[in-house]
């Protein structure tokens, strides 16, 4: 019998019967990596280079999305890239990761090194589809004192891709790291984020949206140990599920001793559009320091009938009103992507999915006519 691979293990496991400590998936069969040329564009004064092998420093006790996925990405692969911004400089970098039949497996690292007081914005687009497709990207963010790093990501793979996004962030004093993600495509989507706020007044913000259909899976895991004073953490995941799709959210804000006046918020919102969907949320706050503020929230529910009535009273049909409600959930995240092209790609993917997937059996033309034309 094939041994299952364990993904996104909770940093502090809870009762086994709750079945939330990790996710088990069948491992993908091994395949040789094909060479890939990344589409990279940049503005500003970043140094962008590709490399082979492992270009990352010692990751300490970083466990990654799974032992196997971490080991695979640490070996290096076919999409390794390093972005370095010198002290006080500013840069934006756009990277597109495309899965193709010729190169169905994209494995590797993205190392972001932002010098003291620098500004770096990385825009990532993941697209394409292939049988047995896999993306396994290990992102390492080293934000120096006072640096600001933002990663905006749109993931619109086809339905055959397993997408693994593992992130380790180390922040200096007063550094700010922000992740904005839109996950719409892929078959199994595993996001593992660990951010170490070891230094004073470091900030970590993360806003993610997802839209699941058919048997898609989204598994988000966040672990933020906060050791510095006056650190600020804010984690939001929001989205909707259709078909028999599943979403797991595991968020752990770990207030360690010494991290006085730290603030941490985490919130998970899920709109259940079908009866067969599955939403599990584990927003954990761990505390060894008494002078902190931590808030956690989770909500999942069906479409608000009062809102549906309000929208339909303005002429929108039920499907159109549902689309607006879903968009109202996710648009605040999409609006933060900060790149019009990426925002449009994400919105377009959401609308296409709502039209095609929510009412299975209806033809595309019929569906399109029934939808409002929202800019």
């Amino acid at each position: 019998m094939m041994t299952k691979e364990q993904f996104n293990e909770l940093p502090r496991p809870t009762f086994r019967w709750m079945k939330v400590n990790h996710l088990e998936l069948d491992p993908l069969e091994t395949q040789e990596l094909q060479p890939v040329e990344l589409a990279v564009r940049q503005e500003g004064s970043a140094q962008v280079e590709t490399y082979e092998g492992n270009g990352l420093p010692d990751l300490g006790d970083f466990q990654g999305a799974s032992r196997e996925a971490l080991a695979q990405a640490q070996k290096g692969g076919n999409i390794n890239c390093r972005v370095t911004v010198p002290e006080g400089e500013e840069a934006s970098v756009w990277i597109t990761y495309t899965v193709t039949e010729e190169a169905p497996r994209l494995v590797g690292q993205l190392k972001l090194q932002a010098g003291k007081d620098s500004r770096l914005h990385v825009y990532e687009l993941f697209d394409g589809d292939a049988e047995n497709g896999l993306v396994n990207l290990l992102q390492y963010v080293d934000a120096g004192d006072g640096a600001q790093v933002t990663i905006s990501k749109v993931q619109i793979h086809g339905e055959k891709v397993r997408h693994i996004d593992q992130r380790l962030t180390r922040e200096g004093k007063e550094a700010q790291v922000k992740f904005v993600s839109a996950e719409v495509g892929g078959h199994q989507n595993l996001v593992y984020v660990r951010t170490d706020l070891d230094h004073d007044e470091a900030q970590f913000k993360s806003a993610s949206m997802y839209l699941g259909s058919d048997d898609q899976l989204f598994d988000y895991s966040y672990w933020v140990p906060t050791k510095g004073c006056k650190t600020d953490t804010d984690i939001l995941t929001t989205g909707a599920l259709m078909g028999t799709s599943k979403k797991y959210f595991r968020g752990t804000i770990d207030f360690l001793r010494g991290g006085k006046k730290a603030v941490g918020n985490e919130s998970d919102v899920c709109l259940l559009l079908n009866k067969g969907v599955h939403s599990i949320s584990v927003p954990l706050l761990l505390c060894k320091e008494d002078d902190v503020v931590g808030n956690h929230a989770s909500s999942s529910g069906q479409i608000d009938q009062d809102m549906l009535f309000y929208l339909m009273s303005r002429g929108f049909n039920e499907a159109g009103a549902q689309l607006i409600i879903v968009e109202s959930n996710i648009r605040p995240v999409i609006d933060q992507l900060g790149d019009e092209n990426l925002e449009n790609r994400a919105l377009q993917a959401v609308r296409t999915k709502m039209q095609f997937c929510h009412q299975k059996g209806n033809c595309h033309d019929k569906c399109t006519q029934r939808f409002p034309h929202l800019d």
Partner: protein, 245 residues
């Protein structure tokens, strides 16, 4: 005057409890009607039923709009036919701006694509008339709006969507004196011989400005008295006790 709305023998239940118990009402084009009644009499139930809220189940009776029966039509079809309800507690819709929302609603109701420049010009005119800051057009619908701003946004939508029948559900609640004046002016400007108003209110102040033609007293799910505007003063002076017996 031609007939716009006809309600015949309407009985409506909510969660199995009968609220409207045989209600008749006729509104002609160009008329302003007021429904008055104590709390729980069924006023909002009547509005929700005319608009087609599925929570309100019609157990008996008929609703006709411009001669066509709409008793079982879905909400959006009634909106397209020309019925608009200004909500007592408008819902906030994050992620969609006011301008985008109204433009799409207008396009859906009229069936015509709304060209952005003429639409925006009219939107700004109407916002100015309502003393609404134009920046509200770029904000998410009712998100972070005060109670008064939400009510103004409802009237803005009415002015832009140009319905034939407007149901104003306590549009004056939560409005200060100036806002009541501004909203009344906007409603009066919009109102003409081709459209009609049906109003619910507990305050006579707004009615002095909207000049109703017909006043109905709704008690316990039935209209027990219909008269002209003088009925408002009578109710103001004596309350509803005389009609409850």
């Amino acid at each position: 005057m031609s007939e716009l709305l006809r309600v015949e023998g309407l009985k409506v239940a909510v969660e199995g409890k009968e609220i409207l118990k045989g209600l008749d009402l006729v509104i002609n084009k160009g008329e302003t009607h007021v429904i008055m009644g104590s709390n729980g009499a069924g006023k909002s139930t009547l509005f929700n039923t005319i608009m087609g809220n599925p929570k309100y189940v019609v157990t008996e009776g008929h609703i006709y709009f411009e001669g066509k029966e709409i008793t079982h039509e879905p909400v959006n079809e009634r909106a397209k036919a020309g019925i608009f309800m200004a909500f007592q507690a408008p819902i906030s819709v994050q992620g969609i701006t006011v301008e985008n929302f109204i433009r799409n609603a207008k396009g859906t109701i009229s069936g015509e694509k709304q060209r952005i420049m003429p639409f925006r010009k009219k939107l700004h005119q109407e916002m100015d008339a309502l003393s609404m800051d134009r920046s509200y057009a770029d904000r998410y619908v009712n998100d972070g709006f005060s109670g008064g701003e939400r009510k103004k946004n409802e009237i803005l939508q009415m002015c832009m969507l140009e319905p034939k029948l407007t149901l104003l559900d306590e549009i004056d609640s939560g409005l200060d004196v100036d806002a009541v004046r501004i909203v009344s002016q906007a409603v009066n400007k919009y109102h003409n011989e081709n459209n009609s108003l049906l109003i619910i209110t507990h305050h006579s102040e707004i009615l002095q400005k909207l000049h109703p033609d017909v006043v109905h007293v709704l008690i316990n799910g039935r209209i027990v008295k219909t008269g002209d505007a003088s009925l408002i003063q009578e109710i103001e002076a004596n309350g509803y006790d005389a009609y409850k017996k």
